[in-house]
């Protein structure tokens, strides 16, 4: 094989390179600093992430590099931006977290950066091998981060559960990939697509089995029902900041890969195996979406712990995003995940600040009457919760509206799914209101000391609040960009198919 045919372009993987190198640099910075004052870590991490974000905007319109291992397309760009925003907000919050908890900051930021690199790889993967690599890097770092408070039994439980079940799911995914490779003779997603299209499949039975296994693997990673059982325990036990990080970043990244493998790879309209496979996974995902929303929302109602409640809510939100997924138009999914990440990070930021060191105050009962004691935090939390509930003029409404509109407009009948989603939105309002009721309407029972909010955490809150309103009131430019990108991608795909 000729080397030039590989199409090597280091600029095309600049975000991944920058985040990984920053991670390595952080280890050195940490080692060379005095123990007492390790303030540089957060700053270095932040600079690295911002540089990575800038490099995302330099990626250009499209292309496929390293022999199709890495692709640049609108999916990659939107999800990379989302992931990096999550990472930046997490970094801003983490500096206070590690200081308050007295945890070693060096490793935390290194893990965060490596995890981000893995997620970026997931978003850019054009090959199943890359999907696996990215997923493993992202997962393993989050397993460690979940147990970062190593003296805490809950965190240990969380980490171990996450690790065991996550490995199990990865195995499913890997097995699925192997079967798909066996059926099509390639691991390149575009090549898989054209192989299915041209009917060049060695075994028509292997392909759907492989796809089903991959569906299970992805379904686990995005916490969709019935593969969601790990979520509440893991989310509750992990430090709040990590919970926020792993319920947003990896989820968005996996959605990107999921979209590329299924909505692009297995979405060929070729009669026979391709069409059958397409119809099957669409139906399966539509049902999963409906079940996921319902399970997440119904169980969330009875939760007493706010982190657990948000864990179930994050399950429900994966369901809403899947409604956009089954339409095949990823613009709505990309927008939904961006909005979800912004508002969810915001909510977890407040919860972390209110919970204090060691996550002592995470029961909703702890929130009673604190509404006017720390109005900045409580009103922000209310806005994030109302946004999660989809009340206008917040971003949550716009993203839901966009998904519902896309689904209603879909070429096949998904209107029942829209109705299910709306009914679910109604259910969800009940539990999102619950913390607001506790904070503002109930009397203060125990003494309340206003938590100290560092400048970095305040910036993180302002960024997420601004995003929640900006995306809710003036989403025009972004939606426009995404829809154009989506259309361009689809037409490119049809061109491939026609060829």
């Amino acid at each position: 094989m000729q080397l030039e045919n590989l199409n090597i372009n280091y600029w095309a993987i600049a975000p991944e390179i920058i985040t990984s190198l920053t991670g390595v640099l952080l280890m050195l910075v940490d080692a060379l600093q005095k123990k007492a004052e390790r303030k540089l870590n957060a700053a270095v991490a932040l600079i690295g992430l911002i540089l990575a974000l800038l490099s995302v905007f330099r990626l250009g319109d499209g292309g496929s590099y390293f022999k199709g291992m890495v692709v640049t397309d609108p999916i990659r760009i939107f999800f990379s931006v989302t992931i990096l925003i999550v990472a930046i907000v997490a970094t801003l919050l983490a500096s206070q977290f590690v200081r308050d908890e007295g945890l070693p900051p060096g490793e935390f930021f290194t893990l965060l950066l490596f995890g981000t690199a893995g997620m970026l790889m997931l978003a850019s993967a054009g090959d199943l091998v890359m999907v696996f690599l990215g997923l493993e890097i992202a997962s393993i770092t989050t397993y460690v981060m979940a147990g970062y408070r190593r003296y805490d039994a809950r965190a240990n439980e969380s980490s171990l559960k996450y690790f065991l079940l996550g490995s199990f799911a990865t195995a499913f995914l890997l097995y699925g990939m192997a079967l798909v490779y066996g059926a099509t003779g390639t691991t390149n997603i575009a090549a898989i697509s054209s192989a299915i299209n041209a009917g060049q499949i060695t075994s028509p039975k292997l392909l759907p089995v492989g796809a089903a296994m991959m569906l299970v693997g992805f379904g686990f990673k995005i916490a969709s029902a019935p593969f969601h059982l790990w979520t509440p325990d893991v989310y509750e036990g992990a430090p709040t900041i990590v919970t926020g990080f792993m319920s947003t970043g990896p989820k968005a990244a996996v959605f990107a890969a999921f979209l590329r493998v299924f909505a692009a790879g297995f979405a060929t309209g070729a009669p026979g195996v391709g069409a059958e496979l397409h119809a099957t996974w669409l139906t399966a995902l539509a049902v999963i979406a409906a079940v996921t929303m319902t399970v997440g929302n119904v169980i969330a109602i009875s939760q007493k712990n706010i982190k657990r409640m948000l864990a179930y809510s994050s399950i429900a939100h994966a369901g809403y995003a899947l409604v956009g997924f089954v339409t095949g138009e990823y613009a709505s999914v990309a927008f939904y995940m961006l909005v979800y990440c912004v508002m969810s990070m915001g909510a977890f930021a407040v919860i972390q600040l209110l919970a204090r060191a060691g996550d002592r105050k995470t029961e909703i009962a702890d929130y009673a009457g604190i509404g006017f004691e720390a109005p900045g935090l409580t009103f922000s939390l209310s806005i994030f919760l109302l946004s999660l509930a989809g009340i206008p003029p917040t971003a949550g409404f716009m993203s839901k509206f966009f998904v519902f509109k896309t689904a209603w407009d879909a070429p096949y009948n998904l209107r029942w799914l829209v109705v299910v989603a709306v009914v679910n939105s109604i259910i969800s309002i009940y539990y999102y209101l619950y913390p607001i009721v506790a904070m503002f309407f109930r009397p203060l029972t125990v003494g309340f000391v206003r938590p100290k909010v560092s400048l970095a955490a305040a910036i993180a809150l302002i960024v997420t609040l601004f995003g929640t309103f900006y995306l809710g009131i003036l989403p025009n430019r972004l939606i426009h960009m995404m829809e154009n990108g989506s259309r361009a991608a689809q037409s490119a795909q049809t061109q491939v198919i026609n060829r």
Binding site: P375, V419, F440, H480
Partner: protein
């Protein structure tokens, strides 16, 4: 800049000023002085907003049915949503009603001492939301404003409300949100049917109305029924029409006085306004078929509300149930499909806003003195409070529909129009509805008799202070308006005539006005 845009966002700007004002106030000043600053800011902002909105009426051209003073700016182009505002004959008065009631509500909340700044911020945000609902000519924008009104009201009830405020606030929120989410689905569906015919996405209300009117087969009949129901349910809950009214008494009783004034005065009108703006013009045939059923529910609401009001021991609950009864008249009028009844319905919306707002204010005034709303606790307060009692009397008379006061015009027109309505059994409904007028006289006069007249039975009531200056400033404009609206109805009706007529024509077409011409 557009006058309507200014009116809509001026209160929101005031809310921002309020939020920043505490930073400006020096740390040393005591809490009470700061609270006064917040109150005055809110009062000034709402008063200025009112005067700006008077400008809308001055600029309003009464010979046009279409929206006026419009402003249209692209908002979310890929969805076809615009920032599109304007007023027509129906909405212009509702905007004015809102801006008129707001300074009064602020005055009525002078006694609030808990978290004054946040309270006023919610009041001002609420005002922007309410005005926005009435001026939106874009479906998405309308929905946005419709939902925005929820949150401030939820907080006003939940934080500053009475004993069972949490229950009432949640009930209020859930009821309204269920309705509005169903409406959202219907709204998206209408949007797509319109896009299918037009070839481009649009949320423009005028465009959709015209397209649905010119192309009645666009939406399949069975789908249309569901869409009509989804819209109607959202608005019926808001109105509230029997049997969707159960949230109202709870919300009213627990809400602070100003909350009740706004709730009864404006928020309920968003429901009847929505019926006139969407259900009738969008789905004329379904509205026509549904009319007898809706009228029947309205009549049940009129009589049921009145009967329940009659036995209430709590004044506020009595007024709340009287709202159910009075709003029944409005729905009866809207679904009569005659000019008289629909004009009457609009007039009744305004009159109810003024007189029920005033009733809640009157209840609030004595509640602040005695901290009870039980009728049995009062009696003979005309002796210590002569001015108050006079006002209360006028307000009650206007609410029960005494000629020369505002309530009479609306109810009379509605009953007259309903009697001539082409809807089957309309005469029967009109006759039954008329009993509501009698019943309202019974419960209001009986309450007055027990509260205001007679001997002073309780010692606490003997030394009650009469109205102070602030309360007069709040109550006198309402009473004056009740009298003006009773004496000069044509001033209001002539502005709304064309637009109401256009709605009626959309439902039953031009020739079918025979009974009305008589």
């Amino acid at each position: 800049m557009n006058l309507i845009t200014i009116t809509t966002f001026l209160p929101l700007a005031g809310a921002v000023v309020l939020l920043l004002s505490s930073a400006l106030a020096s740390r040393g000043t005591d809490q009470e002085r700061q609270n006064n600053l917040y109150r005055w800011i809110a009062l000034i902002v709402t008063t200025v907003t009112f005067f700006v909105s008077v400008g809308i009426v001055a600029e309003f051209d009464r010979s046009i049915a279409a929206p006026q003073l419009t402003q249209k700016v692209p908002w979310i182009s890929s969805l076809g949503a615009n920032y599109s505002v304007g007023v027509d004959g129906v909405s212009v008065w509702l905007v004015l009603l809102t801006t008129f009631l707001m300074p009064i509500s602020v005055l009525a909340s002078w006694g609030v001492t808990k978290r004054v700044r946040e309270y006023m911020v919610f009041m001002l945000t609420l005002e922007t939301g309410m005005i926005g609902v009435f001026v939106s000519w874009d479906l998405l924008l309308f929905y946005l404003f419709f939902e925005i009104t929820l949150i401030p009201m939820y907080f006003l009830i939940g934080v500053w409300g009475g004993e069972r405020r949490v229950y009432a606030a949640i009930k209020f929120f859930i009821y309204t949100v269920v309705g509005s989410l169903l409406m959202l689905v219907a709204l998206i569906a209408v949007y797509f049917y319109n896009a299918k015919a037009a070839g481009a996405y649009s949320f423009d209300i005028v465009e959709i109305t015209n397209r649905l009117a010119s192309n009645p087969g666009l939406i399949p009949q069975n789908v249309k029924l569901w869409l009509w129901l989804a819209f109607a349910l959202a608005f019926f809950i808001k109105v509230p029409l029997f049997p969707f009214h159960t949230w109202l008494p709870d919300a009213h009783v627990e809400a602070p006085t100003a909350g009740s004034i706004i709730l009864a005065g404006v928020l309920l009108k968003m429901g009847t306004y929505g019926l006139m703006r969407f259900n009738l013009p969008f789905f004329p045939d379904i509205s026509h078929k549904a009319a007898p059923y809706v009228m029947a529910l309205a009549v049940v609401g009129i009589i049921y509300g009145a009967l329940v009001a009659m036995v209430q021991p709590d004044m506020k609950k009595l007024v709340a149930y009287s709202s159910v009864s009075h709003l029944g008249f409005v729905v009866l009028g809207i679904f009569s499909f005659t000019d008289l009844a629909m004009q009457g319905a609009l007039y009744q919306m305004l009159a109810h806003g003024v007189s029920t707002g005033a009733l809640f204010l009157c209840v609030g005034i004595v509640y602040e003195r005695r901290h009870t709303r039980m009728i049995a606790e009062y009696g003979g307060i005309a002796t210590p409070m002569p001015q108050y009692s006079t006002m209360f009397l006028i307000v009650a008379l206007s609410s029960l529909g005494l000629p020369l006061l505002n309530g009479f015009i609306g109810e009379f027109l509605i009953l007259l129009g309903a009697f001539a309505s082409p809807v089957p059994h309309a005469q029967l409904f009109a006759v039954l509805g008329a009993t509501g007028v009698i019943l309202s006289a019974v419960y209001l006069l009986w309450m007055l008799q027990r509260v205001v007249f007679g001997e002073v039975k309780k010692r606490e009531n003997a030394e009650l202070e009469d109205l102070d200056a602030r309360e007069k400033w709040a109550l006198v404009p309402l009473v004056a308006m009740a009298i003006v609206m009773g004496l000069a109805p044509m001033f209001f009706l002539s502005a709304s005539e064309k637009s109401v007529n256009a709605v009626r024509e959309a439902v039953i077409g031009k020739p079918a006005g025979v009974a009305v011409e008589r």
